[in-house]
Subunit: 182 residues, 2 copies
């Protein structure tokens, strides 16, 4: 944290992801990101020629990868779909408590961003990736194709909605009871 063995580009992505998640795309100035990452403006435009929008996409992709890892970690050892889903919800609740009451990082950085169709499309792509990952595990755990698809989408909806209510209440409790509604 104090010292920075991490390369500048990674620091920029990490800072951007954190800041966008908490204050939204337009709520964060480049100056904020640069200060947090302790990098000069020149470096930013060297690594991200298109500036803020490039940075946002990189940050969202990074956040998405973290989520995919979380899904995999939850379902990998699970005996049933419900067990995996429950683990995921508990892991998310823990994450919620650790990071504070932020938005879904994808929504905050891509949906709130400039009108560019690319960003919206990228956000959609990321979300479908999450659902596909869950779908994969659902199939592996023996659910029929139709059933698996419905379950995967349902879990996504529950998590997104539950996260929002948790944020409003500043409490991760909702997330932990989510799985009972599957």
């Amino acid at each position: 944290m104090t010292d920075t063995p991490r390369p500048t580009k990674d620091r920029l992505i990490h800072s951007a992801a954190t800041l966008f998640r908490t204050r939204g795309y337009h709520g964060v100035g480049l100056a904020d990101v640069l200060a947090d990452a302790q990098a000069p403006k020149g470096s930013l435009y060297h690594h991200f020629p298109n500036g803020k929008s490039d940075l946002a996409i990189a940050a969202a992709t990074w956040a998405s990868d973290e989520m995919l890892r979380l899904i995999a970690a939850s379902f990998d050892g699970a005996k049933t779909f419900e067990a995996g889903a429950t683990t995921l919800c508990y892991k998310l609740a823990k994450l919620f408590d650790k990071t504070g009451w932020d938005t879904c990082p994808i929504a905050a950085t891509l949906f709130e961003g400039p009108d560019s169709t690319d960003m919206r499309a990228h956000a959609s792509h990321i979300y479908e990736g999450w659902i596909a990952e869950v779908l994969d595990h659902a199939g592996r755990l023996g659910l029929s194709e139709d059933h698996a698809k419905a379950k995967a989408e349902h879990l996504f909806v529950l998590i997104q909605g539950g996260w929002m209510l948790a944020r409003a209440r500043r409490s991760s409790d909702v997330l932990r009871t989510l799985t009972s509604q599957l």
Copy 2:
């Protein structure tokens, strides 16, 4: 739309609500609101002495009232809780198609706004108001208190999450299938 018999204050609120909903609090400049409402800056600061933040709260409150009306309209003639919930989801799907793929107006204007605790608290208050309204109808329709509370929260979660998925997919279909998961 073209002509404006509506008083300036209402026009400001309406424009602000629409713009905040589509681009988020920080994504909208006062100039945008003023242009859309065809009002000079002087009027804005006359009606909303605290400027943008006052405007945001008024816009969110207005949007919330619309939602409360929608809930009431859905449940008023309903014979069962499920019937009311289904009607609400269908009404929201229709609204989604009409307004385009915007965020939840409350989240866009209050959560993305400045750090001020007031705004977050107000958002939370509005959400709980929605849940309370549904809870009211649930009780009236014969559900036990515990059961009603769980159902009301569950419906909120489904709608919030479903709306987000609908937005990513640019399709209101998800919203219409939501009720089958109650």
